[in-house]
């Protein structure tokens, strides 16, 4: 078993390796590599390693043409978690409120239906997908482009802690490896590789999310794309995917259907009559507080209270002055 040696060699040389190099350097490294000591060190830090020759290695990932030597895992969940049906939700970091809303909602509904929600813990769409899954106390997995001990970006340290409560943070890079731009495309192949389907929420024309989608297509996995406004540069990439034949994602059911899952009906929380009127209006289209006040006949103060009620019930979200359903 030399998977760990290869992964450690790559980390030590700041390089990326899929196959064992035939260099003398690697031979020397392997000679002097103490696998047991390395495993112990990982264990002390609370991390685990699953090599691609281990039986526990996720079969879908092993099936891609350049599987990583192994995965480092952070979190208490068993490695079998990675073999469960999973869906990747990826998209732009600088996304619009719409993208954030859709990502969160998909995260919620797909995790709620029992799928593992996979993403990259980046800002924007990634983080919202994770949060959505956490909202429903679902299982979510983050795949990093750096060591699993690096909370990258730093602002998501809390998110990482929440993810590992029930899910995993994984990476092909050994702990201690710093994030570098060239590692992220490689990371994306793992996101796509671990899942039977990849959903692109919002992506610019040259976005990392499209790399994930390309990997998924190459490996014959399903690719979904959320339709965006044709006038918005933020959606140019995801709309281009649709034109190329990706499946349009208009509701979480579209994805669940591909997995043969029927979503359990969710009972809507009971809300006041005033709130129901507002909710109905918001379901039509996102609106500002002033528009809702006029539509519902409530004064500004009362409307603010009603919106908070809906927000606490998880029925609307407020961003940049606009109130949206979901």
């Amino acid at each position: 078993m030399s998977d760990l040696a290869l992964a450690s060699f790559a980390a030590a040389n700041d390089a990326h390796h899929v196959d064992e190099p035939r260099s003398a350097r690697f031979a020397r490294f392997r000679q002097s590599f103490d696998e047991r000591a390395e495993l112990e060190r990982l264990q002390e830090q609370g991390y685990r390693f699953v090599g691609r020759s281990d039986s526990g290695f996720p079969p879908l990932l092993r099936a891609i043409h350049d599987p990583p030597p192994g995965l480092f895992l952070r979190g208490a969940a068993p490695v079998e978690l990675l073999a469960r049906p999973a869906v990747a939700i990826v998209g732009a970091r600088a996304c619009s409120p719409y993208g954030r809303q859709v990502a969160r909602r998909l995260g919620r509904e797909l995790a709620g239906a029992g799928l593992v929600v996979l993403s990259g813990m980046a800002r924007g769409v990634d983080a919202e997908a994770h949060r959505g899954a956490l909202d429903r106390e679902g299982v979510t997995v983050a795949v990093l482009g750096c060591g699993i001990d690096r909370d990258y970006p730093a602002a998501h340290a809390t998110l990482a802690r929440q993810i590992v409560e029930r899910g995993l943070v994984v990476s092909e890079y050994a702990p201690g490896v710093e994030p570098a731009p060239w590692r992220f495309p490689a990371r994306n192949r793992i996101i796509a590789g671990l899942c039977a389907a990849t959903a692109v929420v919002e992506a610019r024309e040259r976005s990392g999310a499209l790399i994930s989608a390309d990997f998924a297509l190459e490996e014959g996995r399903e690719v979904f794309a959320v339709p965006g406004e044709i006038t918005s540069a933020l959606s140019a990439g995801s709309n281009a995917l649709l034109r190329l034949g990706a499946t349009p994602l208009t509701a979480a059911d579209d994805v669940l259907e591909a997995y043969g899952i029927v979503a359990p009906p969710i009972e809507a929380p009971a809300v006041s009559d005033e709130a129901a009127v507002v909710l109905e209006r918001v379901r039509g289209a996102a609106a500002s507080a002033d528009e809702l006040a006029r539509a519902s006949g409530l004064d500004a103060g009362r409307l603010a209270a009603v919106v908070t009620e809906l927000e606490l019930a998880g029925l609307v979200s407020v961003e940049e002055g606009l109130i949206r359903a979901g």
Binding site: S232, A293, L303, T308, L312, E320
Partner: protein, 485 residues
């Protein structure tokens, strides 16, 4: 011959008694001012000498003149000592009756032709005179109404010759009526703001509860316009507050002779290029900054994130304690700075965010650094944060909205209610607040803020207790997602 006149120097806002002693002796003729006088004060020599000559009085040519400003350890600056120095010299040269200056203080700058010019801080100097047991103060006519507010009898003198005539008992200056508090020029009215009901409501809550307010949104949505209209819905200052504010404005030299008493809450809107000293006060003889000038009123910081970071951080002390301590090598000056902060900002550096007609072109990093500038600690000082969306065309075409006067009536009533019997939360309201803390990112300070705003909402509604709906409304003005780092 020795003679003495009394005036006051200002340390921050505090008047300190200064005895101006003039001594004439035989010797080589000369004129010296001692007692830690600064440049402007040293130059008094020339003004006083010319002033006395112009007043057809006699300059003691053959004497050695020494003027001492006691206490010698206190730094004196400015030209306000001119009048006292001239009077002391005149008394020492027996051109004034020996007891003429008893019971009088004097403040004013002399012109070369002997006219008396007003100086800043006359109100504070007059207060010092009252505390020192002096009941009359000689000053320029422009300063007289201010001085009258401090409870001493001002003697307005236009010219040094008039002062001398008065002290010789040859002239009786007209009595100064204590100024009547007139209504100030009308502030911009809230009726001019079309639409924006949510922001108007937040403004009303801010006025009623003296809360700090942050208005965020794309450009052209009326954020600044709203902020400028806050003073118009605030109740007028109580008499004691009015004197406090007047003292600060007098020291800053901002009072108008026609309306010396500041009765309306002051409004200050410094530009975002303002330095730390301009905002919180400073200088060698510390002067009040914008934060103090806005004491008991409104400080509007337009384009909040454009201010220098140190200037923003310097606001944390006054926001917490209601005062500013300016420490200098020579000592500390304390300025009251209990103001209401209103700030406006765009949602991102390119200002495209939140505007349906524009697209944000900011990179994730640029956006993150923009948000980092608003430290959490600073955002936490705002009780109300409202994102102002762009109004639709039909809103702008609508007729005038509710005028400021109507809103002010509600604000005054709510303030009265908050003072007398502040509403308390009911059990269901407590429950809602606890649930919100559980579900939303809400810090301990954030929770306290929500509780305060809920109380204000209840007071505005005329309710006896704080109900869940008031807590729910208050929660709507918490720090929104788009400003989180």
């Amino acid at each position: 011959m020795l003679a003495r006149a009394v005036t006051h120097a200002l340390v921050g806002l505090e008047p300190r008694r200064v005895d101006v002693e003039a001594h004439l002796q035989r010797g080589v003729p000369g004129f010296a001012i001692v007692g830690l006088a600064d440049r402007a004060c040293q130059e008094a020599k020339h003004r006083v000498r010319s002033g006395i000559s112009s007043a057809s009085l006699e300059w003691p040519l053959d004497r050695r003149i020494t003027v001492n400003l006691a206490p010698a350890a206190l730094r004196k600056e400015g030209a306000g000592f001119d009048l006292s120095i001239a009077l002391a010299v005149l008394a020492a040269s027996r051109q004034l009756p020996s007891d003429g200056l008893t019971g009088h203080a004097a403040v004013g700058e002399l012109a070369l032709d002997g006219r008396v010019r007003p100086v800043r801080g006359a109100f504070a100097v007059a207060e010092g005179a009252r505390r020192a047991g002096l009941d009359r103060i000689l000053c320029a006519p422009e300063s007289a109404p201010e001085a009258a507010l401090a409870g001493v009898d001002p003697v307005p003198v236009r010219h040094l010759a008039e002062a001398v005539a008065y002290l010789r008992g040859e002239l009786r200056p007209p009595p100064v009526e204590p100024p009547v508090a007139e209504a100030a020029a009308p502030a911009p009215d809230l009726a001019e703001v079309r639409g924006q009901e949510r922001a108007r409501r937040a403004l009303e809550l801010a006025a009623a509860g003296a809360h700090n307010l942050l208005l965020a949104g794309p450009p052209g949505t009326g954020k600044t316009m709203l902020g400028r209209r806050l003073p118009a819905i605030l109740p007028p200052l109580a008499p004691a507050e009015a004197l406090e504010v007047t003292r600060i404005h007098s020291v800053a030299g901002l009072l108008s002779p026609e309306r010396p008493l500041v009765t309306q809450p002051p409004f200050r809107a410094p530009h975002h290029s303002a330095s730390v000293a301009a905002i919180v006060g400073g200088g060698p003889g510390p002067r009040p900054g914008e934060a103090s000038l806005a004491h008991r009123g409104v400080l509007l910081l337009d384009e909040f994130p454009e201010f220098q970071r140190p200037a923003l951080e310097a606001l944390r002390q006054p926001l917490e304690d209601g005062m500013i301590a300016v420490a200098r090598a020579a000592g500390q000056a304390i300025f009251p700075a209990c103001f209401q902060l209103v700030a406006t900002m765009n949602l991102c550096p390119c200002a495209g965010r939140g505007d349906p007609a524009a697209e944000c072109t900011c990179s994730a990093q640029r956006l993150a650094s923009f948000r980092d500038k608003l430290s959490r600690a600073l955002l936490d000082r705002f009780d109300l944060i409202v994102t102002v969306p762009r109004p639709r065309a039909d809103e702008l075409a609508a007729g005038p909205a509710e005028p400021s006067a109507a809103v002010r009536e509600r604000v005054v009533a709510a303030r009265e209610r908050l003072r007398s019997a502040s509403p308390r939360r009911t059990a269901p309201a407590d429950e809602l607040l606890a649930r919100a803390v559980d579900r939303l990112p809400l810090s301990a300070r954030g929770r306290a803020r929500v509780a305060r705003v809920a109380r204000t909402a209840a007071a505005l509604a005329g309710a006896e207790t704080v109900e869940p709906e008031h807590v729910a409304e208050a929660l709507a003005y918490r720090s929104p997602k788009e400003l989180a780092a």
